[in-house]
């Protein structure tokens, strides 16, 4: 027996340890039709206070639209199909349809007719540079058309149905509660939007949240500064117990002076939330000698905010098939972690401070 045969034999023997589970086929079918979230808002993780604010804003908008229609010199006839569509008025005209020229589409219409191109427009509105496929020709779940939208490195599948009832029926088929566990991270994947079912599969929760927000609002993920959680995102000086940069091992931390804390907070106030991954750059050279340099703000509430330089990584393939990833510091950008979320900001002053400015603002 030659070497090749020996290898084949060993592989066969090794592989013989595993047998097909009896339920694998059923699991596959369940996984191919996973469930929808019980509550869209809860899945979007907006939080009860933000939901209340959103509801109030919606109410105010409805009242405002009604007032404008009644007061305007060329007001539309009652129940007219022109003008801005909102979820609350959807049933009166063309339900759920996005009226042309109304800017960002409204969130999650329950009924009405949408197209994959309109879904894509939401990603465009959120500056995510989507690419849409033609009809893939697959009539899964009875869809009349299936498109994919490549956005931010992920693929979103849009199933178009003849009507809302068809979408609803397919959505129920997809919503098998047994198929929500294996291989994923608990993120909802199938959303019904009028006559569409939109499938969004992600392995990364951060990306999922960002794209879901864009999908349903046509806007980037809400600025966390506006998040009315327990903590105002950028605290006041009085709310900060201490701020420090870790020192070398077995050495005290570098502590910021109160003036420096105020300066940092002012820089945070002007920081601009941007898209991008949470890549940390390679350690830059610095006098501390223990990098990457992370500034930690400890709040009286017990919360912590950490700030560090952001990085960009690029993976390239060599001729021999191996891959090399190179990272570099992203210019003028920082990563801020708060409440378990890490976000990327454009903050030139803060980035410069982390690079060079901090030594003059700290003491042992």
């Amino acid at each position: 027996m030659n070497d090749d045969q020996k290898i084949i034999t060993a592989l066969k023997a090794d592989a013989s340890q595993v047998q097909l589970p009896a339920d694998l086929l059923a699991r596959i079918h369940r996984e191919a039709a996973p469930p929808a979230p019980p509550s869209l808002w809860s899945r979007l993780r907006i939080g009860p206070k933000a939901e209340l604010v959103a509801a109030c804003l919606l109410l105010i908008a409805l009242i405002g639209i009604g007032a404008l229609r009644n007061l305007g010199p060329d007001r539309a006839p009652a129940g007219g199909g022109q003008g801005t569509e909102t979820p609350g008025t959807a049933a009166q005209s063309t339900p759920g349809q996005i009226a042309p020229g109304t800017g960002a589409p409204q969130c999650c219409p329950a009924e009405g007719h949408l197209t994959a191109a309109e879904v894509m427009a939401r990603f465009t509105a959120a500056r995510l540079d989507p690419r849409i496929s033609g009809d893939l020709g697959t009539k899964l779940f009875g869809a009349t058309q299936v498109n994919t939208i490549a956005v931010d490195g992920e693929n979103i599948v849009v199933y178009t149905f003849a009507d809302g009832a068809g979408a609803e029926q397919a959505h129920r088929t997809m919503s098998d509660p047994q198929a929500h566990t294996v291989g994923w991270v608990g993120i909802p994947r199938f959303f019904r939007m009028g006559n569409l079912v939109v499938q969004i599969d992600f392995s990364n929760r951060t990306v999922a949240e960002k794209l879901q927000a864009a999908l349903f609002t046509g806007q980037p993920r809400p600025d966390p500064k506006a998040d009315s959680g327990d903590l105002q995102w950028v605290p006041t000086v009085e709310q900060v117990r201490s701020a420090y940069i870790p020192g070398q091992p077995k050495m005290p931390d570098w502590r910021l002076t109160p003036e420096a804390i105020g300066k940092i907070l002012a820089m945070l106030q002007t920081a601009q939330l941007i898209s991008g991954d949470e890549t940390v750059p390679p350690p830059p050279a610095g006098p501390v000698g223990r990098q990457p340099l992370i500034l930690t703000l400890e709040l009286i509430s017990g919360d912590r905010i950490t700030i560090r330089l952001a990085g960009d990584c690029e993976t390239t393939s060599r001729a021999d098939g191996s891959q090399v990833t190179t990272c570099k510091t992203a210019e003028d950008q920082v990563l801020v972690a708060v409440h378990g979320r890490m976000m990327r900001y454009r903050a030139p002053e803060l980035a410069q401070w982390l690079m060079n400015g901090w030594p003059s603002d700290v003491h042992r």
């Binding site: 023997a13 592989a15 097909l20 996984e31 294996v182 001729a319 098939g321």
Partner: protein, 198 residues
């Protein structure tokens, strides 16, 4: 047109029953291929599950039904890689103390190699790096041609050929080392840097 290609066409046309043909044809070998790559049963099962779900969802994007096999293996390998990395796979250092292979399915000649040599080979296979293990498994277990492996892994043919050669060399070297250790013979050192490149 092969039965598999015909099934792919039917599935693309919306005939869901054709999926069972593909499942019957590929599920078991896919599971075992994934297991050989990941060394983790649960990861292998998840990889197969994920791969078939991808087949259901994305088969329409496959232009040539005849190229289903490398396309499917590409999905399997990618899923296996990812799941394996996510799960921090447990890689038994001493396989002899773990799962005993079932030799009943082997031919008399294959069984004649002796369980000791098979065990040594299994240990050597488990010690290969991921890239080398993938090409070995795809070539010698899944039975893919070098062209198909190139398509599956997205590598140039020359790279596949050289990687296979180095993987096999590394495997046989490790096999020799394993057997030498068990027999108390000295082992010549190997240039590990060369293996890492492949």
């Amino acid at each position: 047109m092969s039965e598999v290609a015909a099934a792919v066409r039917r599935l693309q046309a919306g005939d869901q029953s054709a999926f069972n043909i593909l499942y019957s044809a590929y599920a078991e070998i896919a599971l075992r291929t994934a297991f050989l790559i990941t060394r983790d049963r649960a990861a292998a099962e998840d990889a197969v599950q994920e791969a078939f779900v991808q087949v259901i969802r994305n088969v329409s994007s496959l232009r040539d039904p005849g190229s289903f096999r490398p396309w499917f293996y590409r999905i399997i390998v990618n899923a296996a890689r990812r799941l394996s990395r996510n799960r921090h796979p447990s890689l038994p250092l001493d396989l002899a103390q773990h799962d005993q292979p079932d030799l009943s399915g082997l031919s008399p000649e294959e069984r004649a190699i002796g369980s000791e040599e098979i065990q040594s080979l299994r240990v050597a296979l488990a010690q290969l790096n991921e890239a080398h293990r993938e090409v070995i498994v795809l070539r010698y277990y899944a039975g893919l041609s070098e062209d198909e492996i190139a398509g599956t892994l997205g590598l140039p043919n020359g790279t596949v050929k050289s990687r296979l050669s180095r993987a096999k060399e590394s495997l046989l070297h490790r096999l020799g080392a394993t057997q030498a250790r068990s027999s108390g013979r000295p082992v010549a050192p190997m240039d590990c840097s060369q293996e890492q490149k492949g």
